[in-house]
Each structure stands twice: as C-alpha cells, then as structure tokens.
C-alpha cells in the first residue's frame, strides 16, 4: 500500500454545505444504509436476543433466565477467564502489530511488500489450521513441546497463542492504515526543533496513530472475547463465555440461555462504541489538504533492528503454516510419518469436495464486491455527511454491533429472522445470498473501522472546497475520496474475501445441500477423524486466498499507482 504518510493538523474551516437537493441525496443514502443495517443486523439479532426474556415455549419470563445464569458459580470463572485471555491477547497482539506496522512504515527495511503479505496470512487460514499446528508442535507428541516447560498447551497458553495468531492481521490492518497517513512536515518540524527520536515518537507518531491503536485494541479484545473456535479446540477445560454459548446452544439446544450469554457479550462492544464516540470528538484530520507524505530515511541500526523484529514475527507465522502443510502430507501422525499426497483427493473424502471449494470462491467474491461497496459508502456517509447527528450516531452504533456478536448467535439469528413465516425476504434462505449477507455482516465492523480510519484522516477541507466550488458531494466522493482511499478500499475487499473463504461459525447454520462451503468441509473432515485431508483442504484455502491476493495486487497496482502518485514527493 502506501509507503509514505502525510499529515498535519490545521483546522479546516467547517463550511456548512448547501442545503437542498444534495442534502436530500445524502440523507437518502444514510437512510438506505440504515435500512440495510436494520435488516442485516438489528432485526435478526432481536429475534434471538429477545429469547433471553422467554422460556422454551416462548412465553415472557422477564429476567428469570438472567437470574438463573448469574446464580451459576461457573459463570464467574468464565467471565474472569474470558477477560484474562482477552486482555493478554490484546496487549500482545496490538504490541506486535504496532511494532510490525512501525517497521513497515517508518523504517527502510527491504521487502516491505513481502512482509505485509506474510502478516496477513493468518486470516487466509481457517482457524482449524493453527489448532492442528499447535497440537503438532506442543501437544503430547509435539515436536517442540519442551518449550512449554511442562505446561500444557490445552488451556490459556494455547488460547492466547491461537488468538494472537488469528487477530494479528486484524490489528495490523487498522494500525498500518493509521500509521500510513501521516504528514512529513510534522517530522521535519520535530527534527528542526531538535526533538530526539524518542520524543518525536511520543509526540508525533503515537498521537497520530492514537485512533487506529485504540480501534485495534477494541477490535482484538472483542474478537477474542467472542471467539469460540480457538478455545473450543485448544482450550481444554478453560471455560470462557463464548464456549458457554456453544455449550448452551449446540450442546444443550437451550437458545434462551445462549441468548443471555450473547447479550452479556454485547457489553464490550457498547463500551467500545461509547469510547469511540468520546475519542472521535478529539480526533482531528491528519491528512490535511496541504499534507506532505512522510518518507522514512535510511538508518542502519534502526533498520536492522526493525528487520530482525519483523523477520521474527514473519518466521513464526510461516512456521505455523508450514507445520499445517506438513500435517496435510503425513500419512498417519505420529505413527507413520511418511509423506503422501492421498489427502488431496477431496472427491473421495468425507464431508467435502471440489464443489464446496467452488461455492466458497463464489461466495467470497460476492462478499468482497458487495461488501466493500456497502461498507465504504456507509462509512463515508457516516463520517462526512453533515447534520442528522442522531441518525448518524445510530448507524455507527449498528456498525459496531456485529463485532460483538459470536458467529453462532449470528447464524441462529439469521435462521430465526429469514426463515420466519411471512418474511418477504424468506426466499434468500438456503441460497448463496444469505451466506453472502451473513458474511458481510459478520465482518462488517473491522471493515467499517478501516474505512473510517482512512476517512477520518482526510481533511474536511476537501468537502468544503468542493462544496464551495458547487461540486455535489457525490462527485467529490467518486473523484477525490474514493481514489485517495483506494489502498484502504482494496484492503477492505481482500479482507472480506479471505474471511469469507475461512468463516465457519455463522454460516455452518445456513448452508444447504447446494451451498456447501470449503471452510465447513474442513471442519467436518477433521470431525470425521481425517486430520490430514482437513489440513490439505485448509491449505488449499490458504493458497487460493494468497493467489487471489497476489492477482488482486498485480491487477490493482496500476490503479494504485495512478491514484496514489500524490503520496510521493
């Protein structure tokens, strides 16, 4: 993406846009996005969360379920455990991602493109792959289990490693966007004033990246606290809230209690929203219209240190994937380590075939195209439109919710809502459309935050100037905003694509006979005891996503060059 940042804080005068036709177009746009979010997020979630106030026959019982839930002693262990692993994972992930993004944006290390590509690998991988790798590395037969010094991987250690691996790209995406957009003039000023590197870091770099860092913290924290995939397979007896939902919903088919835990898990997202609103008030656009992109200067020692750091992180990421590839080729771990290609005959395998693989590709492509258009336009309207404060606030809240909703809850919510008798949208049930819709919703928040982070750093002056030149806002949107934000837009589309390739927890409830997905097949193959084919199909997903990413990069390089030329001096 961009190698140079730009930034500077000069308050742009707020010009009140022309009221009239243009304003109505904007409001209509906001209304459309609002209705979309109501249908895709709020209504479905209402159908399931309202069950937390009902008994199994659907009768209203007030807070009885909550009373029962909070009277369970195991709950406090779950809350405590959830907070523990979430905070630890958050600190480690955001720390690593910041260091990595810092290396990519502020140093002159070679191979930045490669490093960035490697960092995004974990989201290319279905979550089962790191789980298999961790078992092969640290399990009872593990290759390097000595590193744990007698501790078991099946517990908080395994959860934290798995979550850090999985959430690292999410955090990197946001922090990288924040660090990329900064203004060289600030650094020049700092240097001219004789500020030390350290001082510049704390007074220029950190404040500039503040919004991105805080977003990344909330995203990682919320992703970890709502994830049940990693704790379920590697967590052993270490109970967390998201696994409690799994037990209630899948283990005991008790939707009422599942809904109670689901509502409890919404709390962090609401907090994130409130905090976001508070910080947003103080955030100023960093990319003023007069900004000059920052370009790092070579500094041998600093560059070597950053190279070592990024190299280590990249090595661990690749190492975990390499073990998964090894798992796909081993004949029978750990008793017959000869390498064979049998696992790639998917059509002979249980639970999956090449058909599922093509379905996944189709689903991911639609998710990327439609999702990017909806999410970026939505973020633009929320960030850049004027007036209509409450409506915009509400829409932003709706954009934050999906992050806090565990996949199981989302999947069931979509059944309840779209399969309801008399729902005019019922025809999309059991089709690819519902899978696309559900997946966009599932990954809405991070994409929205990425778009918002990029947009926030664009000075309102752009709109002000176009407005004073009597250019309608949608022309500014198409001609200025979209081109300037092309890197973020491309990142969002690829983020949606790769997540759609690997997502399981929500779509597992929604696929039908003609819409089986490769990611679900991976899970089912492992479920049938076929670890090697599961790893093989999992790695197929990784390679596909990686190839698509590469093609995407090559095809869009031209666009990026044309639209991003302004970033170079």
């Amino acid at each position: 993406m961009t190698d140079g940042p730009q930034a500077v804080v000069i308050e742009a005068p707020l010009v009140k846009p022309k009221v009239g036709r243009e304003n109505w177009v904007m409001r209509a746009g906001l209304a459309v996005i609002g209705v979309y979010l109501l249908v895709a997020v709020v209504f479905p979630l209402y159908t399931i969360l309202s069950k937390s106030f009902q008994d199994s026959r659907g009768l209203f019982v007030g807070l009885d379920n909550y009373a029962e839930y909070f009277a369970t002693p195991a709950l406090f262990y779950s809350i405590n455990n959830s907070l523990t692993v979430s905070v630890i994972s958050m600190v480690i992930t955001v720390g690593l991602a910041f260091g990595y993004a810092y290396g990519l944006t502020r140093s002159c290390i070679p191979g930045k493109g490669v490093f960035k590509a490697i960092a995004l690998i974990p989201i290319l991988a279905p979550s089962l792959l790191p789980a298999i790798s961790l078992r092969y590395l640290f399990g009872a037969q593990g290759m390097i289990k000595g590193l744990l010094m007698g501790e078991t991987i099946y517990g908080p250690i395994g959860i934290v490693i798995g979550e850090v691996f999985w959430t690292f790209p999410h955090a990197l995406l946001i922090i990288f966007t924040a660090l990329s957009l900064s203004d060289a003039r600030l650094y020049e000023a700092a240097e001219a004033l004789g500020a030390s590197k350290l001082r510049t870091f704390f007074t220029v770099t950190l404040p500039g990246a503040k919004y991105g860092l805080i977003s990344a913290c909330f995203v990682v924290f919320t992703l970890v606290i709502t994830d049940f995939g990693v704790p379920k397979v590697i967590g052993g007896g270490y109970n967390v809230l998201a696994v409690d939902i799994y037990k209630q919903v899948v283990g005991q088919r008790n939707f009422q209690m599942g809904a109670v835990v689901g509502l409890v898990l919404l709390a962090p997202a609401l907090l994130a929203f409130v905090a976001d609103r508070m910080i947003q008030g103080k955030q100023v656009a960093l990319l003023s219209a007069r900004a000059v992109p920052y370009e790092p200067k070579p500094d041998r020692r600093f560059d070597l240190a950053m190279l070592a750091f990024c190299g280590t992180v990249a090595f661990v990421i690749i190492g975990i994937l390499a073990v998964a590839q090894f798992a796909a080729l081993v004949k029978f771990w750990p008793y017959n380590l000869s390498l064979v290609l049998d696992s790639y005959q998917f059509d002979l395998m249980d639970g999956g075939s090449w058909g599922a693989f093509w379905n996944s590709l189709k689903m991911a492509a639609w998710t990327a195209v439609i999702g990017t258009a909806v999410i970026f336009t939505g973020a633009y309207l929320v960030e850049k439109s004027k007036g209509f404060e409450h409506g915009r606030g509400l829409i932003q809240l709706m954009c934050m919710i999906p992050l806090a909703v565990p996949g199981i809850v989302l999947g069931l919510a979509y059944i309840f809502f779209f399969n309801a008798v008399g729902n005019p949208l019922g025809f999309i049930y059991h089709t690819l459309i519902i899978l696309v819709l559900c997946t966009i919703t599932h990954f809405y928040t991070v994409s929205h935050l990425t778009a918002a982070t990029a947009l926030k750093q664009m000075d309102a002056e752009f709109e002000a100037v176009s407005s004073s030149l009597k250019v309608p806002f949608y022309k500014t949107f198409v001609r200025v905003t979209v081109p300037v934000c092309i890197p973020a837009i491309l990142d969002i589309s690829i983020y949606l694509f790769v997540n759609a390739m690997t997502t399981v927890s929500a779509v597992i409830f929604l696929y039908s006979a003609d819409t089986q997905l490769a990611s679900v097949a991976v899970l089912n193959m492992d479920d049938a005891g076929d670890t090697a084919p599961a790893a093989a199909m999992g790695m197929m997903i990784v390679y596909t996503s990686a190839t698509v990413r590469l093609l995407h990069f090559l095809l869009t390089r031209g666009i990026a060059r044309r639209t991003q030329a302004w970033r170079k001096r």
Binding site: T72, P73, A74, Y77, S78, N81, R135, G139, A140, Q141, G150, E151, T152, Y154, G155, P156, K232, G236, G237, Y238, N239, V243, Y246, K247, V249, V250, G251, Q252, R253, N254, F255, K331, F332, W333, P334, Y335, N336, D350, G351, L412, I415, F416, N419, A420, V421, G426, Y429, I508, F509, Y511, S512, A513, D514, V520, N524, M525, D527, A528, G529, T531
Partner: protein, 348 residues
C-alpha cells in the same frame, strides 16, 4: 389450518403425479429430497448411491453436520421447517422436536419386522423409526499405554484406579450428546448417587473434558492421550486408518443411542420421503447400516467388521424419555461439580 390443508393437498397432488409418473412409465423430472442428517460423512455416498439406484427418480440432497449443529438448526427452524426428512439423527434430538409438531406419522413398509426398541412406542403409526444403535466405548492406545505402563481397562470402574491418573479424556456432557449418553447410562445402572460417586473418582483421573464426543478417541488415535471415552464407530474407523487402538466395551454395561429418521410435517415431497423411509428398513439397506455399529433395527444382521465385540448383551435398558426429561438437571449438576473449577490442571 388452512395452509395445513393446502400443504396436504399439494402433497397429495405431488404423490399423485409421482404415482402417475411411475405407472405410465413417463419420464418425470427428478424429485430433489432435502435430507438433514448427522450420519458420519463418509457413509453418505454409500447410502445415496444405493438408494438412487433403486429409486432413480429421486435425488437425495444431504445437509450434514454434527448432531449438535443439526439439532440446533432443526430447532431454530421449527416454525417453518425446511427439510423433507430428518435421517440418521440421534433419537433424543427427535424427541426434543416432537412437542413442536415437527413430524408426521408414517409406518414404513416392513416396520413390523423391526426390533420394537427401534420404533416410536408412543404413536401408531410411529412418528420416528430407528435405523441403528451406537454404543459408548473406551479406546486404548497400545503404544502410549505401554509407554506409561497402563494395563488395559476392562470395566468402567477400572478407569477410576489411581494408575490412570491424567491418562483419560472424556467429552463434556454440557457440549456433547455422546458424553450425556455415558453419564445417563451410569446413572441408570448405578443410581444417581452411585454414578456421581463413580464420576467423582473418575474426575480425578481425567486429563481434560472435550467439547466433541468423537474427539477423545481421535486424540487417542493421535497419541495425545492413552485412553479416550467415546463411541465404537470412531474406534473402528481410526483403527482402519492405522491407529494403534484397542476397542473396549466395559463389562458393567453400555449406554447407547438410536439413530432414527422422521418425516417432516410440511414436506412437499412426501412420496419421496416415504420411499426413503421404506427403503431404509429394507434388508439390503440395513446391511449397509451395519458396519461398525452395535446393532441395526432389523434383527439378524451381523456386524461385518472383524473383531467387533459382541455388545448386544451389554446394552443397558435405556430409558430415553427419562434421559431426555432429566438432561437439564443432570447436566447442571455435572457442570457444578466438574466444570466449575475451570483453572487448567497442571501436568502431573
């Protein structure tokens, strides 16, 4: 009510068209039959091919997932069911759905020849018909067992001996139907007090509880743990793949579960659904059901798997209604005793 009548009319019409198609030898478009199932994935092709050979006008479309996921999906769809027939599903799941008027009664051809334990005792014609049973079992990894000097356990109570401390994995009944099968069978054999006393002792030896019922023997097959508590089919399959496992069916008795089918109330493909039900309990299909399973619904069909232990005599008199009605209470008690202390155990 009116929609109900309408649905019945449509169904009757569909049946008529179907019958005409057969009778007149007219080529009709294939009927797509949407089948929800939790049958092990590797068996799906076997059943589909055999059935479609006998009924070339019907095309089976599977939606398969684990019992937990399919059970949740079925329950979530209860107001507007989508499947035509639910197939190879744990009977306890079907029992939970029956109160919502989920299924329609049908007596498949030849149902009178089945072992009566496999046919819905409450309704005639039956709402559900069993296909086969799977039993709880213990698996023992000979290589890891030898390394740790563990004797092969023969009974459930053996598993509580101190020598097995930290060497046993079983599923968590809060997440896994298989685990509840074990727990409810122990209670039915020894009474609630005796069973919980046994589980207190067993808990001391458990390395950890898994969320999936098939996981313990998969972990044993991969050498992660010497002993797993799971069900027999998994062990048979892992052994065939090359795992050094021994299948143990403890002497005191075995919990078991019926895999059953039931036709959904609002199916638009009633004739095809009934055809599948008829075919399923035919002798030919029952033979396909047998490998690796404790018993099939039609008496007199042996298990073709070599050295599959004869478990018929060990299967307890399982009271499914009792097990279903008491599940919430027992799981809660189990969770409070063994799941609340969620601090990870240190390795011994």
């Amino acid at each position: 009510m009116r929609t109900n009548l309408l649905k019945r009319l449509t169904a009757a019409l569909a049946m008529g068209v179907f019958a005409l198609g057969i009778g007149g030898g007219v080529a009709v478009a294939k009927t797509d039959l949407l089948v929800y199932t939790s049958i092990e994935a590797d068996e799906l092709a076997k059943f589909k091919n055999a059935f479609e050979k006998d009924y070339p006008d019907i095309n089976i479309k599977w939606v398969r997932d684990s019992t937990g996921i399919m059970g949740a999906k079925l329950l979530a769809e209860k107001d507007n069911p989508r499947a035509d027939i639910v197939y190879g599903m744990a009977a306890t799941v079907l029992l939970q759905l029956i109160p919502y008027n989920y299924f329609q009664a049908y007596a498949p051809k030849g149902v009178e020849k089945l072992n009566p334990l496999y046919v819905d005792p409450k309704n005639n014609p039956p709402l559900w018909v069993g296909q086969r049973a799977y039993v709880a079992a213990v698996c023992y990894n000979t290589i890891e067992g030898k390394k740790a000097n563990l004797p092969i356990p023969k009974t459930w109570k053996d598993l509580t001996k101190p020598v097995y401390k930290g060497h046993v994995i079983m599923p968590n009944p809060g997440s896994s139907g298989t685990a509840y099968l074990d727990v409810s069978s122990w209670i039915q054999m020894w009474g609630e007090e005796g069973a919980f006393k046994f589980m207190d002792a067993l808990h001391k030896n458990i390395s950890r509880y898994t969320h999936s019922g098939s996981k313990p023997c998969k972990l044993a097959a991969a050498g992660e743990i010497p002993i797993g508590v799971s069900f027999a089919y998994r062990v048979v399959k892992s052994k065939a793949a090359g795992a050094p496992l021994v299948l143990i069916t403890p002497e005191e008795g075995l919990g078991w579960e019926v895999e059953a089918m039931a036709i959904v109330r609002n199916t638009k493909n009633l004739a095809a659904a009934r055809a599948l039900a008829d075919w399923t309990i035919s002798r030919k299909s029952m033979e396909l059901h047998a490998p690796g399973y404790a018993e099939v619904a039609l008496p007199g069909i042996p298990n073709p798997v070599k050295d599959f232990p004869d478990v018929g005599g060990k299967m307890i008199k399982n009271d499914f209604a009792w097990a279903g009605a008491n599940k919430a209470r027992i799981v809660k008690k189990w969770t409070a005793r063994y799941d609340a202390k969620s601090e990870p155990r240190k390795k011994k």
